[in-house]
């Protein structure tokens, strides 16, 4: 297993815009104002756009780059597959590239609904086979394109149109499926969480993912606050994204073949309330709910932290 020990080469970190290429997404696309997905997607194409092929599924993200009958919103080839099996469709393409020794970067852009619910089987299968694709999950914590229904990535107590708030129900009563960890445990070449509030970190991770698909599959979990579905003013997207990290609600980490590493840690950790209270979907929360969410947040962070620390110890022991 010599290959698994390889750490991917990466140029010394530069300021984020120095690493970027041409903006391949046109202006005035149909995203809602303040959409995090648009920013996330723009940086995917600016970082990896050279020979990228985008694989998308029905949802907000594909509408942003596929265009309409008058023309495309992006200047890369795209492929809109089915929600159930987009990872398998990209696998077919990736295998063809390898067989014919052609250059290309298959990038799957899927929402949390496809990645963690209906398309999870296909994603997990692709990960197990080590398909050389970059899978980017745009996590807006629900099916925002069809009208804000819950997904298995919807967090605890969150309002959605299928987890209503009223006399008989108070939002979702189960915790979210933490998909990045599940993907890392598939022992794939590269797994990372990213966030549009930390663009430099995100761009570095995209570059690493491109390196990683020389060896196997890369998975990036991008938190995408959705002002329409999460009910907050559209100018707060970046603030919310940063708060998600600063409260340890959405820790930024990466894993190479299951070796975890924290990529950013807040100097001062804020209470999760500061992140939750910015969003209208949590308007109904009581203090005890917040305590529970704080508990869950701490637990999740500690778990990741422990994995990262054990990874460090292993690395030191090897040295």
């Amino acid at each position: 297993m010599a290959e698994e020990k390889t750490l991917f080469k990466f140029p010394k970190a530069k300021r984020v815009y120095e690493q970027l290429g041409e903006d391949r997404l046109s202006n005035g696309i149909i995203a809602c104002p303040g959409c995090a997905e648009e920013l996330g997607l723009r940086y995917v194409l600016r970082t990896l756009g050279q020979d990228a092929t985008l694989f998308g599924i029905p949802g907000c993200s594909i509408l942003m780059y596929m265009g309409n009958s008058q023309g495309s919103y992006s200047n890369v080839p795209w492929f809109m597959g089915a929600m159930t099996n987009i990872a398998a469709m990209a696998s077919g393409y990736s295998r063809y590239l390898q067989k014919t020794k052609q250059k290309g970067t298959p990038i799957v852009i899927a929402g949390d609904g496809s990645a963690s619910d209906v398309g999870f089987q296909s994603l997990s299968g692709a990960a197990e086979r080590g398909e050389k694709i970059i899978f980017i999950c745009l996590d807006n914590e629900g099916y925002m394109n069809t009208g804000m229904q819950r997904s298995s990535s919807t967090p605890y107590k969150s309002w959605t149109s299928t987890t209503p708030v009223g006399e008989f129900a108070r939002g979702k009563n189960k915790e979210a499926k933490y998909l990045p960890l599940l993907m890392a445990f598939h022992n794939i070449a590269y797994t990372a969480t990213a966030n549009v509030g930390f663009l430099q970190d995100y761009v570095q991770k995209l570059n690493k993912a491109k390196e990683a698909i020389q060896h196997g599959m890369a998975y990036i979990h991008l938190l995408c606050p959705c002002d329409t579905g999460w009910r907050y003013p559209s100018d707060k997207t970046i603030d919310i994204s940063q708060k998600a990290v600063d409260t340890n609600y959405f820790p930024l980490w990466e894993a190479e073949y299951g070796h975890f590493r924290m990529t950013y840690e807040p100097k001062k950790v804020l209470p999760v309330k500061e992140y939750i209270s910015m969003q209208g979907k949590y308007r109904h929360l009581k203090d005890e709910d917040l305590e529970e969410i704080q508990e869950q947040t701490d637990k999740r962070y500690n778990r990741i932290k422990a994995l990262a620390e054990s990874g460090e110890k292993q690395a030191q022991a090897k040295e």
């Binding site: 089915a82 159930t84 619910d117 209906v118 009208g147 229904q149 149109s161 299928t162 209503p164 129900a169």
Partner: protein, 382 residues
Amino acid sequence: MRQRTEFIQGNETCVRAALYAGLDFFAGYPITPSSEITEHMAAHLPRIGGSFLQMEDEISSLCSIIGASLTGHKVMTATSGPGFSLMQEALGFAVMTEIPCVIADVQRGGPSTGLPTHGSQGDVYQARWGTQGDHAIISLTASNHQDLFAMTVEAFNMAETFRTPVVLLLDEITGHMREPLTLPREGEIPVIERLRTSVPEGVDYHPYLPREDGRLPMSDFGGKHRYNVTGLYHDMWGFPTTDPKVIHGLIHHLMDKIENHAHEITRYREYYLDDAHTVLISYGCSARTALHVVTSRRRRGEKLGLLEIQSLWPFPAELVRAKCEHAHYILVVEMNMGQVVHEVKKAVQDPERVYLANRVDGEFITPTDVRNIMRLVHGRGV
């Protein structure tokens, strides 16, 4: 007391009717244009102590209601074409294991992702032949909210009566359209409850042994009686079998229990058919257009009539043959490349009288579209 009238969407009408029929378990997955059914179920079901589940996909949605139905619940799921495609395996399982359930398919343009926000009637054959193997199925549809309410309740009734899945074929246009619905009073539409076995506990119960009238009494799974359920060919105990006699009997039973009762299942509406020279046959949203054409042309003295079919499967061939006996022309109005038109051609004598008036570009078929085709049929040019 005045009856309550509400101005609501077709999808919500479907929810109200399902609750009227006694639904207490719903599982669904969001898909345009049926998501409103799932959303309203999420809001309404907890109020009556029912269960609402949002599943991870459509396969699980249908499978979970199959499980719930076996334990004695009245169950339903809702989806659209792509989701209905995923459900086909489970649909076949429900047919084979004779488990009552209702599947609302709010049709949109297909194949594949197609036209999520536009109407279509392209799933008529998918409802009939989507799952593999010989089988019979019941499928109902409606063109307005009042009928939709009644047909939804009927769907539950037929599912229980015939121990079979029933496909409720709605479409984006009726699903998203708002019009007044007068809510029926309790008892106004009969609701059929599940036929449970009278076999006492400790005595052998045969889940697949029909009574003399062909109905199969059920026992809640995991309750009083121990029995087996399998998608394999099975005998009256539910044990798998390769005995040719038993297989022959089961497949005939699955077909006959529905096809032989087609006259009981047939639901339709007719308008001015007594002296009609030209008979329009339609269903679902396109029947609204057909009705408009018929009523407006009647005022001019043209002898047009409309047969609105509400039970698409089993196809009411005898009814169609009888109603079209004296027609010079038969025009099938539907929003697909021609599905029911083939059934009509098979049903009537002189099938060369049958023409198709359709529209498949995502737009709702208009009276002008129908009139233009009618002029061609009548040899008057456009």
